[in-house]
């Protein structure tokens, strides 16, 4: 297949051809098009402070949202456990969106089913759908556990999962000992991170309670060294490998509670298997006897953290996503404190190498103004990383940032963090806003770089700012999630992603005088 014998243009080139341009112009007669002047005026207006004020006064409608709903997070949590089938109790549409959404990000299949509620269920309740659904899905997909969550529809009609599952057992549809963990995840409360938390807590508490074991912190292993680690709503499969590497360097034993990296980074062996990896179900009750728990998304994992400290009586060290040098330092300190082990020399050496890389690149990053969009814990990590290398966060939008940890709100923490460095002095943190707000911010007060998910690409394009894709979802770039962003290695990956974008921009916009070979 050497040279294309035939050139068949597709929409990337085809529609700039003369005949199509003409056709488009023709079509404008239906559009009552604005004149070029009007268009320019509208654009200017959308960049004005006046419009920004109007835009920020907008209360009712959300334009270009940057959050997904609870059940989506719940599916991710369920896929963190061995042979567990996520089951969404509601009508079929949501589930099909969730599956596409997650699959488009990870480029992997997402096994998840729904009870396909219909109008009858809306009137009479969804019990029979749920029971039939359990029967069918267990027969079809042969899971070892079902992780059941609700959609807003089931919540509104007030379906009671616990009693429905009980009825299914009574009817013999599922055996008495078949595990069905469950949680309530209405879409009109919280966001995908809330749903992740609810399901993780649901699974941990369910498997623990039914095991009949008693929590005895520190007695889990003869050596007493075992640690629990939770990554939370984690869009990077690479982060799992990285955290393992770090824990292994400490030479501590550990259990990852919720590890979906197997499901979302499985090999192409020629046979699709439905379930790959995940935390072993039997390990969950044993986790109650660990030394302590390390949580890497403290805002996301609120309920789970509380459950672990209250019921398992364990020490919980809760951090936000450990990005950058300082973030990773904190991580290592937390592991060291929980396990009593010293920080390994190999990691110190790695730290030194990454610090070296940061010093190499800092001239290109210093003073760069950035806009950030993401989930709360990711943003705390990103703000820290940016300031560490002399970049200045300017606009920070967190749609689902109405959360707190130990009575400190996300916004307060973010602001305190920003206030701790002169590089944070320009920043404003917006909670509950959407990407149309961000667009206003980008247009009225321009920045050099935008960091956020693929959804930000529209606003970034309007404002002509390069977008560095970090977070969830990333639909339009391949394999970003396979590279870790946490830990020292992750800092290096983030750094090269950012600095090389800056360098690409330099080359692309060069004036002819600065097209340098060495940078």
């Amino acid at each position: 297949m050497s040279k294309d014998r035939l050139d068949i243009p597709d929409y990337n080139t085809l529609f700039s051809e003369h005949r199509f341009v003409e056709q488009r112009l023709n079509k404008q007669q239906f559009e009552a098009p604005c004149s070029e002047q009007e268009t320019a005026e509208a654009l200017a207006y959308s960049q004005s402070a006046e419009y920004m004020e109007k835009n920020f006064n907008r209360k009712a409608v959300v334009i270009n949202p940057h959050k997904a709903c609870q059940p989506l997070g719940s599916i991710m949590a369920a896929l963190g456990f061995e042979k567990t089938l996520p089951f969404v109790h509601g009508s079929q549409g949501c589930n099909s969106y969730f599956r596409s959404h997650l699959s488009r990000h990870f480029k992997e299949p997402t096994p998840a089913v729904s009870s396909s509620m219909t109008e009858d269920a809306a009137v009479f309740g969804g019990m029979s759908n749920l029971i039939d659904g359990l029967e069918n899905s267990i027969a079809l997909y042969k899971p070892e556990m079902v992780a059941l969550c609700t959609t807003c529809m089931a919540e509104v009609i007030g379906d009671d999962l616990s009693s429905f599952i009980g009825n299914a057992r009574q009817k013999g549809v599922i055996s008495e000992d078949f595990p069905v963990a469950f949680c309530n995840t209405p879409s009109f409360v919280g966001s995908h991170i809330t749903g992740y938390d609810s399901m993780l807590k649901g699974i941990l508490s369910y498997l623990y309670e039914r095991s009949g074991l008693q929590a005895a912190p520190g007695s889990g292993e003869e050596t007493g060294e075992k640690l629990n680690v939770m990554l939370g709503f984690e869009p990077y499969t690479g982060n799992f490998a990285e955290i393992r590497k770090i824990l292994d360097a400490f030479d501590t034993k550990y259990t990852l509670l919720g590890d979906h990296s197997g499901n979302y980074d499985s090999p192409a062996t020629g046979e699709y298997e439905y379930y790959y990896g995940g935390t072993k179900l039997a390990d969950v009750p044993l986790a109650a006897n660990a030394l302590g728990t390390l949580s890497l998304q403290k805002y996301t994992l609120k309920k789970t953290q509380d459950f672990i400290s209250e019921t398992w009586k364990q020490q919980v060290s809760a951090l936000s996503t450990p990005l950058g040098i300082a973030g990773t330092d904190k991580l290592l300190e937390a592991i060291s404190e929980l396990t009593g082990l010293p920080i390994p020399a190999s990691l110190l050496e790695e730290r030194g190498r990454v610090v070296d890389a940061l010093t190499d690149s800092h001239p290109y990053l210093h003073g760069k103004r950035v806009a950030l969009v993401g989930d709360p814990d990711l943003l705390i990590g990103l703000i820290g990383f940016c300031m560490e290398v002399g970049m200045e966060p300017v606009h920070i939008v967190c749609s689902n940032g109405d959360v707190d940890f130990n009575e400190v709100k996300f916004k307060e923490e973010a602001e305190a963090l920003l206030a701790s460095s002169p590089y944070g002095s320009e920043a404003t943190v917006y909670v509950g806003n959407d990407l149309w707000h961000m667009r206003s911010l980008l247009l009225t007060d321009p920045v050099d770089l935008a960091i956020g998910s693929s959804h930000l690409k529209f606003a970034a394009k309007d404002a002509n700012v390069p977008l560095i894709r970090v977070g969830f979802p990333i639909f339009d770039r391949h394999h970003m999630h396979r590279y870790p962003i946490l830990g020292y290695q992750g800092a290096l990956n983030l750094l090269s992603q950012i600095v090389n974008t800056v360098l690409d921009e330099l080359d692309r916009n060069n004036s002819g005088f600065n097209y340098d070979l060495v940078r």
Binding site: E31, A32, I63, N64, A68, L72, S91, E119, H455
Partner: protein, 453 residues
């Protein structure tokens, strides 16, 4: 709550208005089913590119779906904005109508769209929001059409949603405007959504034969052009059984004859163009169409030659919904590809009949969903390639099966003569890529199977 899915629907064949035996298939609990009616309604209406589309409900439906479709626009992009009322728990308790009204007002004030479509979702339908009244009041006050689309997810499948969207067009849009007097009489294209620009390829052909398009329903459409759809001479239902009801209703209301056709494959394309000219009742046009289709077909035969050589005798499993399940078979047959398995999950009885007309006895029908089932067919039938939608793509990759995306996220246009050429090229590339050989070979140190490369 008034049932949205009226009882009469159930007694009708899916997609048709005539009484028949089988209704739109309902989803089975516990399966990995496809999209909901809300999704279906959006698929149909979102390609009205200059309108605003507002989703009334909690963040679920809009937050997980905005801007994820490959329908292209040649101009306005308002349709790509994700508008949502994002109801929270207190809205659920006290009602979201006020928020809805404010949202409509804001959109009208800021974006000045020619119309606003407002979609109900499961929750807003359940809590009994009077969307029709809010839309009507807002529309009267603002002086633009504000159109309620009552197609909450729980009423049924995607297909039903397509249909309910068609009903909204009939009720609120079609017949409310008049075309410019100089517009020549023409054809409505119904159920063609301009995925990857397919509509433009079709229009190019129609232009060359001098057939005018009256309204696009709805690929790359402008709101205004749909208001005068009732002035068309012919309706062509392109690849969407679910909008057949719209065509039937337009026939009885406005006396517009319709036909069902497809643009997948040269034969179907030629047939469709001929049919248009025939129903337009214009001899000159028929002659022009004949000349055009002859020329295009013979050019295509030339162009396809190298691909046919490679594709001949290759075996494919096709898994896609509705009309594509049979129309793509024709296209594949023209390329020499044999369809050894075909999904009938989302097909109506008519579709299945058409599939049967096109494939031999040797083809396996795959009635229910689920990756396992499709894969089984691929393996048992020794298929070379799988042709399906995006959600099955990653499963195919795990199984090292060459794959082509045929559904809404595809980035290639396969309609018309050039489309068939593109399909041939994609199939060839997908089959010929060296990665399959690498993927299916053991590592060199694995002695058990000889490493032949």
């Amino acid at each position: 709550m008034d049932p949205i899915r009226k009882d009469e629907f159930d007694s009708e064949a899916c997609g048709s208005k005539a009484p028949k035996s089988k209704p739109c298939p309902r989803p089975k609990p516990g399966e990995a089913a496809g999209g909901c009616s809300f999704d279906g309604a959006q698929i149909t209406l979102l390609p009205i590119m200059d309108a605003a589309h507002l989703v009334h409900g909690p963040i679920a439906c809009a937050g997980n779906s905005w801007e994820s479709r490959g329908t292209l626009s040649s101009g306005p992009s308002l349709s790509q904005y994700g508008f949502a009322t994002d109801l929270n728990d207190s809205d659920i308790i006290f009602g979201g109508e006020k928020k809805l009204k404010e949202s409509i007002d804001y959109i009208a004030g800021r974006f000045a769209p020619p119309a606003i479509f407002v979609y109900s979702t499961c929750v807003t339908a359940l809590i009994g929001e009077d969307m029709d009244a809010v839309c009507k009041e807002a529309g009267d006050r603002l002086g633009i059409p504000v159109i309620p689309v009552n197609s909450p997810g729980f009423v049924g499948s995607k297909n039903l949603g397509n249909r309910l969207a068609g009903d909204a067009l009939l009720q609120y849009v079609i017949g409310t405007g008049e075309p410019e007097p100089e517009l020549p009489p023409g054809v409505n294209l119904i159920g063609e959504y301009n995925i990857a620009g397919e509509m433009w390829d079709i229009e190019k052909l129609m232009n060359s034969a001098g057939i005018a398009v009256t309204s696009r329903i709805t690929g790359d459409a402008r709101y205004k052009e749909i208001t005068w759809a009732h002035r068309a001479k012919v309706n062509m239902v392109v690849c969407s059984r679910a909008l057949l009801g719209l065509a039937k209703e337009m026939e009885s209301r406005y006396g517009i004859p319709y036909f069902e056709g497809s643009f997948y494959g040269a034969k179907e394309t030629t047939y469709s163009l001929r049919q248009m000219a025939y129903l337009m009742n214009d001899r000159d046009m028929e002659r022009r169409v004949d000349r055009l289709t002859e020329r295009e077909e013979s050019r295509l035969t030339q162009d396809l030659r190298p691909y046919r050589k490679i594709l001949k005798g290759k075996r494919a499993v096709l898994y896609t919904g509705g009309v594509k399940s049979w129309s793509v078979i024709s296209a594949l047959k023209e390329l020499g590809v044999q369809v050894v398995g075909v999904g009938t999950n989302k097909s109506t009885e008519d579709d299945v009949r058409r599939i049967a007309d096109r494939v031999g006895d040797d083809t396996e029908y795959i009635p229910e969903g689920g990756a396992t089932r499709i894969l089984k067919t691929v393996r048992e039938r020794k298929a070379d390639i799988m042709i399906a939608g995006g959600r099955n793509m990653y499963v195919a990759m795990k199984e090292q099966i060459p794959f082509i995306d045929i559904n809404q996220e595809r980035h290639k246009a396969y309609a018309g003569y050039e489309g068939l050429l593109r399909l041939a090229k994609e199939l060839t590339y997908s089959l010929a890529n060296p990665i399959w050989k690498l993927a299916s070979s053991p590592a060199p140190w694995d002695k058990e199977v000889p490493y032949d490369r």
